[in-house]
Amino acid sequence: MDLLLRGGRVIDPSGGPDRAVDAAHDVLIREGRIAEIGAGLAAPAGGRAVDVKDRLVVPGLVDLHVHLREPGQEYKEDIESGTKAGAAGGFTTLCCMPNTDPVNDGRAVTELIARRGRDAGWTRVRPIGAISRGLEGRALAEFGEMREAGIVAVSDDGRPVMDAGLMRRALEYARTFDLPVVQHAEDLGLSAGFAMHEGPVSTRLGLQGQPSPAESVMVARDLELTELTGGRYHVAHASVTRTVELLRQAKRKGLRVSAEVTPHHLALLDEACGDYDTSCKVAPPLRAAVDRDSLREGLADGTIDCIATDHAPHSSIEKDVEFGAAACGMIGLETALPIALGLARDGTISLSRAIDALTRAPARLFSLEREGVGTLSVGAPADVCVIDPDETWIVDRDKMRSRARNTPFHGREMTGAAVLTLMAGRPTWDPLEALS
């Protein structure tokens, strides 16, 4: 169906920071692709025109870090429910971590995930392959064949690559196939037994803490290895001040390094665990105010490239237990956009940077711009997110599209929501029934 989005505020950072579009424009979509952007465009013959005045029209959002739990843990989430949640959050591309059961460490599982994603049809699904076979931190997984089957990066996420020798070879082997290596940076010796961030709050609650250097000592080591190997290194869910400082230095030096930050590390502090609320238990843990402030600063100045949710669905089996016994992780796809818009509203980052961090920037890191993801350029697939920046709504964990309910934002008021999501011109989220 051809479609004209009329009179929205088009924000497309894909031209780069200096040439980003930010203007009232019409967007014409023909045969699933962006056909034209400009003023006073005519509605396509036989197609539809939708008035999007006062709305933001941006590229479909891109998330480099989600857990869709399929295959193997479908009781928490599956590709259908997870991608549906993504569409509702404004996302059109999700990169899913390999810690499934079986692990995505070879062609067969990669193909399965990619196919199930296509069949579900709610978002593009781009799998991330394991670094080590079975996530066991010993043998390398089949980067080459997984690349052919569609992976966009490698990671042992959930587990760090502790062995420096293996990390070195992973960076080199991934370089061979032009894949970024995504590290869950956590020194297991420093984080042993942790339930939350180590500090006054963990002391008060009597919960085992992990200190900030549990992350940054690993990042420091990896940056040395990145320099040695010339590989592409990406820090998953950066959470502490020192990580931001190390990345800033490394970028200045010209290393091929990048990082993501989650909405929850931008929005919440370790104090949120104060009532033993297990929905706030996450790895890396929610940190101190100084860390959150550094993350915001790093996001603003580009040291941290993008926002990624680390959407990690769990059921009540993992979460309705004592804090120490609860699984780490929280869902994030349906709350990421309003949190990012909130940072723009309060002046922490610009609105175009907020959109950039959810579209162009992540697409580039995993080379997704090659398939036209993260842009509204003419000729690109019409992956579009239309946002009502002023809509206020209350997060209700019982009404999420995700199968899981483990959100720390339950009951919170949010401002800003995706009101129309298009993937290749087809509506995947249309709560106002603009196109029905």
């Binding site: 609650l205 009597g206 919960l207 085992q208 237990v321």
Partner: protein, 331 residues
């Protein structure tokens, strides 16, 4: 016993943190009435007749479980002990399941001991009964702090203005946390002492300004004990220490952090020595001191029953405002 007739402003006793100084004093005052009861030939009052108290213990305990059981029985409540093994890890019955199953039997009070910090709070969210925390992980052990305060008050007359040294494995001690909070709220000054590996960050501020102004940390036991009115020793909680080691061995630990007669001589001449038990003789305290004239360790145990009676009475007693409540012949 008019103090007992006012409704207690808390539904549960999950920790010392949520309590005001007045709440603590109320429990202590009431416990003194119950201490008098211990002296009588018939030690039982009918106050909680018909009420059911479940002692739900997920960790092994002799002292605390027996203390709660005797407390409940002296108040004429029906006390049932349930020993449950382990914690919920996705297999078998979860803590919430267990609590809800017990709830279906309509207890009035559930006393919980659990290895996980916050477990009693989780149970309290899922049951209608009053929940008393009998020790959760490394978080709080409020009735222990209360019985410690009752013991100190008995021997020292009052708590305000005292210097109290707490020496031992502070990081893994729920007794230390509850003790720091209670003592600071009641106006004492607290010195905590441990090797740096067992002193968790921010321990001085666990009760906000209230404790930050009254708690200081020490690495040297002789400095911590210097002039102290109360010396409270804690054992090393080996079973809770994971990851890298925290000290070389118990011999060296005893040498630098153990309470000997020589160290005790640095305290105030009238100082009392306390220990929540179980004692590791020769590690944190030498037998001569544990059994010496300054030791009030067994007195702590007997006051435990009275304090727990007070807690059970205030939380499991008649509804607020009900007539004829009275702590029976307690007063």
């Amino acid at each position: 016993m008019t103090t007992a007739e006012r409704p207690f402003p808390h539904r549960h006793l999950l920790g010392i943190a949520p309590l005001a100084a007045a709440d603590l004093e109320r429990i202590l005052d009431l416990s003194e009435r119950f201490v008098e009861l211990h002296e009588r030939p018939i030690k039982k009052v009918p106050t909680l007749r018909g009420r059911t108290v479940i002692n739900l213990f997920f960790e092994p305990s002799t002292r605390t479980r027996v203390s709660f059981e005797i407390a409940a029985k002296r108040l004429s409540a029906d006390a049932i002990n349930v020993s449950a093994a382990g914690s919920s890890t996705g297999k078998g019955e979860t803590l919430v399941d267990t609590a809800q199953n017990l709830m279906a039997m309509h207890p009035d009070v559930i006393v919980v001991r659990h290895g996980g910090s916050g477990a009693p709070a989780l149970i309290a969210k899922h049951v209608d009964a009053a929940v008393i925390n009998a020790g959760d992980g490394t978080h709080e052990h409020p009735t222990q702090a209360l019985l410690d305060c009752a013991t100190i008050r008995h021997h020292k007359g009052q708590i305000a203005g005292l210097e109290v040294a707490i020496v031992g494995d502070i990081e893994h001690s729920r007794v230390a946390r509850s003790g720091i909070l209670a003592l600071a709220k009641l106006g004492a000054r607290v010195r905590v002492c441990a090797p740096a590996t067992l002193l968790p960050p921010g321990i001085e501020g666990i009760g906000g300004e209230e404790t930050a102004a009254r708690v200081r940390s020490f690495y040297r036991v002789d400095e911590a004990v210097e002039g102290a009115d109360v010396v409270m020793m804690l054992r090393i909680q080996g079973e809770r220490i994971g990851g890298a080691p925290r000290f070389a061995n118990t011999r060296e630990y005893a040498r630098f952090f153990g309470l000997t007669e020589a160290v005790l001589r640095r305290a105030h001449p009238e100082a009392i020595v306390m220990h929540p038990g179980p004692i590791q003789r020769g590690v944190e305290i030498v037998p001569e001191v544990a059994e010496g004239p300054r030791s009030v360790i067994l007195d702590q145990v007997s006051r435990g029953v009275a304090v727990r009676m007070a807690a059970l009475y205030l939380l499991g007693g008649p509804e607020p405002g009900a007539e004829g409540a009275g702590a029976g012949g307690g007063g």
